[in-house]
Amino acid sequence: MELSVFDLSKHLGVAPNTIERWIRQGKLPVSKKGTNYRFQSNELSKWALRNNINLDLTDKETPEKIQESNIALSDAVQNGGVYCNIKGNDVNSVLKACLEKISEIPDDFKADLLERLIEREKALSTGIGKGIAIPHPREQLSYLKHPMISVCFLDQPVDYKALDNQPVSVLFFIFCPVLKLHLHLLSVLSFCLRDSRFTGFLKSNPDPIALIEKIKILQKANPI
């Protein structure tokens, strides 16, 4: 196989100028064809071996960027479901009542998950203000098939020790099998919740279909 100065500079990860200087200094096994310098790959491999240089002459296929398997917020909400009229008067009882309602979580895991959610709230409240909280466990739930966000509207606002001390009435539960999706959903969700029109819309206790439609519109306007 024959290589040009440019090819070799790519393989070695140096500038073509460097290759030209090395040719001038007589450091490379090179042959001249007309005005062009050509390299023979087998001689180059020998040269690299002798000089202890890592040289891989096989054509490197640029590794395909691993498509980040992101999920749209609306799909996550569809997976998780929307639940209304949840009763309870403090954080723990609200969380418990919500979990009982969320049908996508297998019953066997609910007790454990509740503990983890409470633990997370103890470490730091997930109330982000404006009457909204994003409860989630710190460890990811590998038993879930899909990432999901369950939206729960409370009967009465409860004191959630949120940053702005406002009582919370809407909970966005994030349950994810992998950390990457969790961070993605968290970031998308927090972006949406900064939109005051959206938070205002949430206050009106919308029905599930309307909520998902609204999220879809927001998503389209701000693709992340």
Partner: protein, 575 residues
């Protein structure tokens, strides 16, 4: 007593600390004399034991001699001296490049004894490499006694080597050239003078004890133009033979290592083989100086075919001796193979062109020796000067240079590493001064590591981390477990940018959710070469060093470049 001590102290300081060249010259000449003595002792004792064994040679059971010799030799090295077999030159080279020439005092006599046993009993090997090992160990021990630094010790190791070679061949310049070309690998002004003096001292010792002035005496040769042409062909032949010799030596060594026999058993088998070959062809036995002498003076009796076979028999016998556990060098076998090749070549030349008036057989024996020495060691200067000196004649210098340069170039083309270096290169221990490998092996992780890092807990809330970030210049934050301080992962600023610019995330995540747990880590045990390779393969600019699950620090390429450059300047500076 205190007066003497004071006086000694003053003299020592005045004389030596003022100028270490003087110290090196004096210590070097002592090293030269001692190693010269060692060489003479080995040569004389070999001569007498071979003389003593000679009458028994024609008995049928005499083939057992080399076997017993090799057995005792390997037993001695393994059990009593506790040193590896082999010829020792790579060990000396490695010690010079890695440990500043530090060698054990024991080495200064152990190889002499083991090679005496191997060669004295008839094993096919040379006494030169053991003498080199012994000379360099003497030099190293003198340096240790005077508590000198590495640089001075290396010079003294060179002095010991030069003295040994100079003494055994009675060839001071060859001693100097061999020491610098093969052992030290750098021509430095400060080295050359002490080594030259040591070489002369070694040669003088040998002359004072052994009366004959040159190792191989010869009549003057008449070298004409046809010889120079013939030399071109001879050079090609010697290059082939030297490559063959190197390959056979290495292959037999590998086969022996694979065999299931214990070390002494291997040596015994190797010795027996050599003994049996020696029954039919005594020319392969021992170091063969007397045969070389007869070839040079033209009294060698073998015919063309026999001599041709003898070349390969000697190659095989040497490989069986050295590869299977005997102790000794390849210098003398090279000389013998070379002179045999020369003779064969001359005889063929004579058969093909009987009318061309070319030089005598002896001259071709000399040229053949140069060819093999230069080809096997790929040290052309050593080849030329050695032959010129051991024969005491300059009349063959032109063909000598032709043969030497062509042979070393050709064998270098086929086998880029010489016999001495091949082993070291394979083990990654070939570290010539001023080379990348040498600098990387000298710098170690502990010198390069940066430890000034603020660590963060895995349970830290992201908002707190952002606060920390505002006042910190750090780009990498190691994340550790609370309580146990165990390393968990890394946070790299460039990797968390999308979260850091999103205030909605600040209170939602903890550091263990965004840390990178898949960062490749190195440990303090890795050497720099490995660490740099890891960084290259994974495209990293910095690599965390983690030892026993504890974060120790980081190595960054910028720091490596800084220290690498400084190291290069220091190592290649003119003293």
């Amino acid at each position: 007593m205190p007066a003497i001590k004071n006086w000694y102290k003053t003299v020592y300081q005045r004389l030596f600390h003022l100028d270490d060249r003087l110290l090196l010259i004096i210590a070097g000449s002592i090293a030269g004399i001692c190693s010269g003595l060692a060489a003479v002792v080995l040569r004389l004792s070999l001569e007498s034991v071979l003389e003593w064994l000679h009458p028994f040679r024609h008995y049928g059971w005499a083939f057992i001699f080399p076997a017993v010799g090799a057995l005792l030799s390997s037993f001695y090295l393994e059990k009593i001296a506790r040193e590896g077999a082999g010829h020792g030159v790579p060990e000396v080279i490695y010690s010079v490049s890695r440990y500043g020439g530090l060698l054990r005092f024991r080495s200064s006599y152990s190889r002499l004894i083991s090679s005496f046993l191997t060669i004295g009993s008839g094993g096919s090997a040379g006494p030169e490499a053991p003498v080199v090992m012994s000379g360099s160990a003497i030099g190293s021990s003198i340096a240790k006694f005077l508590s000198l630094n590495d640089r001075q010790r290396i010079t003294l190791v060179g002095c010991g080597t030069a003295g040994a070679i100079a003494s055994i061949f009675n060839a001071p310049i060859a001693g100097l050239v061999f020491s610098i070309e093969v052992i030290l690998g750098e021509w430095k002004f400060v080295n050359i003078i002490p080594i030259a003096i040591a070489a002369v001292a070694g040669a003088q010792v040998s002359q004072a004890i052994i009366p004959e002035r040159v190792l191989f005496f010869h009549q003057p040769f008449q070298v004409g133009f046809p010889d120079v042409l013939a030399c071109l062909c001879l050079a090609v032949v010697t290059a082939m033979i030297s490559v063959l010799f190197t390959k056979v030596l290495r292959q037999t060594g590998k086969i022996a290592k694979k065999s299931a026999f214990p070390l002494w058993g291997r040596a015994f088998i190797g010795g027996c083989t050599v003994g049996i070959i020696g029954m039919f062809m005594p020319v392969v036995l021992a170091e063969g100086y007397s045969f070389i002498q007869s070839m040079i003076s033209g009294t060698f009796s073998m015919g063309l075919f026999l001599a041709f076979v003898a070349v390969f028999a000697k190659i095989f016998a040497t490989a069986m001796t050295l590869g299977w556990g005997g102790s000794g060098g390849i210098f003398a076998p090279c000389l013998l193979i070379g002179s045999l090749t020369g003779i064969v070549f001359h005889k063929m030349l004579f058969a093909l062109f009987p009318t061309v008036g070319c030089a005598s057989e002896g001259a071709y024996a000399l040229l053949g020796m140069t060819g093999i020495i230069s080809g096997v060691m790929q040290a052309p200067l050593t080849g030329i000067f050695l032959i010129v000196e051991i024969t005491g004649g300059y009349e063959t210098i032109l063909p000598l240079i032709v043969v030497s340069s062509i042979s070393s170039t050709m064998s270098h083309y086929i086998e880029p590493a010489s016999f001495y270096f091949k082993e070291l290169i394979e083990r990654g221990q070939f570290l010539r001064p001023g080379t990348d490998a040498r600098i990387l092996s000298d710098l170690n992780i502990r010198e390069l590591i940066e430890t000034e890092f603020v660590t963060v807990s895995e349970n830290m809330v992201f908002r707190k981390f952002i606060e920390l970030l505002k006042t910190s210049g750090q780009n990498f934050f190691p994340v550790i477990e609370d309580g146990s301080d165990e390393y968990k992962g890394m946070i790299q600023i460039s990797g968390i940018r999308r979260y850091a610019l999103d205030p909605g995330m600040y209170d939602m995540i903890f550091l263990n959710q965004i840390m990178d747990t898949e960062v490749i880590t190195a440990s303090l045990e890795n050497d720099l070469q490995e660490v740099l390779d890891m960084m290259d393969i994974n495209n990293m600019d910095s690599i965390p060093i983690v030892e026993n699950d504890q974060f120790i620090g980081m190595i960054s390429k910028t720091r490596v470049l800084d220290l690498y450059r400084r190291e290069l300047i220091v190592q290649t500076s003119v003293h």
